[in-house]
Amino acid sequence: MDFFNNISFKNKVLLPWLLPVIGLLYAYATLPTGVASNSVLVIILLCVIGGVVSWLIGHNASTLMGAGSDHTGADDYKSDQGKLIAIDKVQAIIEFNMDGTIITANDNFLSAVGYSLDEIKGRHHGIFVDSNFKESQEYRDFWSELNKGKFEAGEYKRLAKGGREIWIQASYNPIVNEQGTPYKVVKFATDVTDIKLESANNKGKVDAINISQACIEFNMDGTIITANDNFLNAVGYTLDEIKGHHHSIFVEPEYKNSQEYTAFWEQLNRGEYEAKEYKRLGKNGKEIWIQASYNPILDLNGKPYKVVKFATDITTQTNENISNNRIKRALDSCAESCLMVADEDYNLVYTNKGVQDMFEVAESEIIKSIPSFNADKVLGQNIDVFHKNPSHQRSMLNELTSVHKAQLNLGDRIFVLIVNPVFDDSRVRIGTVVEWNDITEKLAKETEDKRISDENTRVRRALDACTANTMVADNDLNVIYANDAVLGMLNTAESDIQKQLPNFRTNNLIGSNIDIFHKNPSHQRKMLAALNDTYRTQIDVGGRKFTLIANPISNDEGDRLGTVVEWNDRTQEVAVEEEVDTIIEAAGKGDLTQRAEVSGKTGFFKELAMGLNSLMSISENAINDTARVLAGMAQGNLDERIDSDYEGVFGQLKDDANTTGIKLTEVIGSIREAAQTVQTGSTEIAQGNTDLSQRTEEQASSLEETAASMEEMTSSVKQTSENAVHANQLASAAQDRAEKGGEVVGRAVGAMEEINSSSKKIADIIGVIDEIAFQTNLLALNAAVEAARAGEQGKGFAVVAGEVRNLAQRSAGAAKEIKDLIRDSVEKVDNGTELVNESGKTLSEIVEAVAKVSTMIKEISSASEEQASGIEQVNKAISQMDEMTQQNAALVEEASAASETMTEQATSMMNLMGFFQTEDRGRAVPVAVTQTVKSQAQARSISGSNSVASRPVITDSDDDWQEF
């Protein structure tokens, strides 16, 4: 149908008639072809089709004309057509048959549903709805209504291609024919999917607010328009009860009449928003607290036209706040217990006065542990500030379910903390309560008490275990304590004591009065009562001697508490002292034979007696042994030794005595050996001196010979020196002459050169002569030529010319000869010049050589002079040596005498050493004698042999010789 819509009306009218005409033309064209039977059929068919189509188009055209029937004329019709096109552009249009099959759809519709026209043409409208709806009664009713010609409009949910949901705002318009029956449905649609979604979204939000919040709406005059269930529940009214009433039914009458309330509404009327906590009255004057916001809603002109109030009922919380406040006040006034409350994050939200006071007192101590601590700023801080390891503390606190006690040391202060977790009704942890207790002082006191008690116990135990005999009496001198040592002692001495004090019983001592020890108790009592310092005394009881040391006991305030008495039984001690005195006195007088009695003694005293005896006997033996050794030494016997074993000082004495013997033996042996060596040496020295004397004489004579030959040498050197001077003179003369020769040669060279130059001049002249001869010859020849030409007349001239030519030739020949001679002489002069030059060179070389010779001779001359002076010095040295040698000879004689004396002294020393008797003395002396004999024999044999062999002996005695 689009096709028809798109062609002009004229064409639409013409078109139906074209087809039958075409059919007739076809028939006419095909008739002559002889296919009549078929042609007739085709003609009929075309005519029929043409008729039908003509009818259809005609009908359509008339319908369209009918749609525009309000207008008359072609312009009106065009205007309608324009509108349709506009609608087609803007709106989605689809046309259905009455059974719901799709006839056509425009591009807008196709793009909205995503199908192409081919895909949907001929299909049922059901493809746009979901299958449930398609099957429903509603859908069937929808189409049956349309079939009845009823118009349908609304928002519909439809399915686009691929099941995508779209929302359309659509109208289904059944088109009715002339008979009044609908023959098709045209649907105009707009895609409202986006709008639909947004409105759904907004509705969701509003619903959510309605569910969660109490909501009420007012007109601007304050009358209630509506309220939701939440609000109604909160105030306890039904909607009907409040609708149309003024907002003031919810407020207290005083407030209702107040300026403030009026201002509140005026503010809302200005469009200003307000939100805070309000106290409102519910039904029957029930007090409720709400957290509410009053929101004026503005119309499009920005003018408020209603107020929406959103509220939350906070009555419960408000009441709780009041209750909490009461408890807080109570806690604040609670001064003794120190309380602190932390929230679930352990921030301190409350500290009572008690804890605040406590912190202020302890601040200086706490700061030592927590430098950042400030008592005034505890509130609001986290409890972490009290801990070095907050994470541990936190995990511990987090797990806390019941009361927990902890001790906290801050500085020198000790706190006991009682920590209580706080839970709400649903067992959710909402905080922590901490109770502080400063137990520093209490702990200090307890520690001090314990220390004192321990100290007392310790003293008591010490006394029990002490071996000192100790007894304590109270102020009435009753014995209240006696240690194990005193009881043991008294038990031992009991029988002796009973002799003097028959009533004494050791077992009854504790509890009995100290008076039992005294014959005159009153004196004793008086004395003890006056006691203020250590008192010592000695008492004899039944032959026993006791030492007593009494000390008063007073407390810190100086009050007398009792007396402590120390006992000491000295009976046996005294006896032993006397015996030891006797022995020591004897020892002091050199009697070491005294001994102490061992039998009848026990313990320490027996030990003492045995020790003393052993000391005496050891001392006696040691002194006796030492005396024996020293006596032997005095008599020259060095072989005595101490063989017994001793310890300590005695051991030292023994070792020293023995060492003295050994050392003396060694020393004497060494002295003896040295004496023998000295004796041998002095004998050798004497022998050596004799040899030396002899050699010195020999040396003196050879020195004299040397002196003589040196004199001879001096004279010969002097002669050499004189000769050298003479030679020098000769050399300089030779040099002068050679120089003169040189000069002569120079002159000769000059002369030669002159000869040369004159020869050259001669040669030149000869050349000229030669030239003349040549020219003459030429002239003569020319003359001959002329003569020849002259023929017979020239014959004579020819002869003359021949003669001239002859002369010319001769003069030329002579010139040539002279030239040769001159050349020869020039050559010879050149040779002579060369030779003369050579002789000049040779002469200058001679001059140089002579100069060298002259210098050398001068050197020789000075050298021989130096030699002469050197020889003189040697001469002097030799005469000095001669002198020395003579002095040496005298010294050697003296040395000889001294060595003899030394030999004598060595022999006398040997004799003296003979006094000491040592084990090896028997064989030492003979060895020394043989050694002496041997060395003397050796010396003699050496001196008998040549002087070279005796040299070692001389080097041996060199040092001694030099000392002389």
Partner: protein, 161 residues
Amino acid sequence: MNTVEDLDMDETIDADQLTTEQYLTFFMEGEEYGVDILAVQEIRGWESATPVPNSSSYIKGVINLRGTIVPIMDLRGRFDLSKPEYGPETVVIVLKIEFDKGSRIMGVIVDAISDVYDVPINDIKQTGIGENKNARFIKGLVTVNKSMVILLKLEQFVIFD
């Protein structure tokens, strides 16, 4: 002039015993050559000549001899002898050469001038050395004082190769 004509006919006429010819001799490379003295115009010492472009190698140039331009020929070059060393004895013999088309004056350079000899015509011997490049210049040989003198045929000099 008659004498000269006589001399020219020496070879063809019978020998006349009294008839002698005078020859001026000169040296080149130790050999003595002779020219008819009547052909000699002048004997001069060697002076340099003015070179003439594009002339033969043995023509040394020309000299002005008292108004007459005379070409100078090196005879060594003409005879293909070794190159000459011009010295004080080098001389130029100026010849007036008569030939069938007339006469020409020409100077020839020689090593040294020697002598003038009277040569009896009968003593002149033919060379008989066969055809040689230089044979055309030789008139004959004559022995004077036991040495051989080569007598030159002057008219051949002006036929330049």
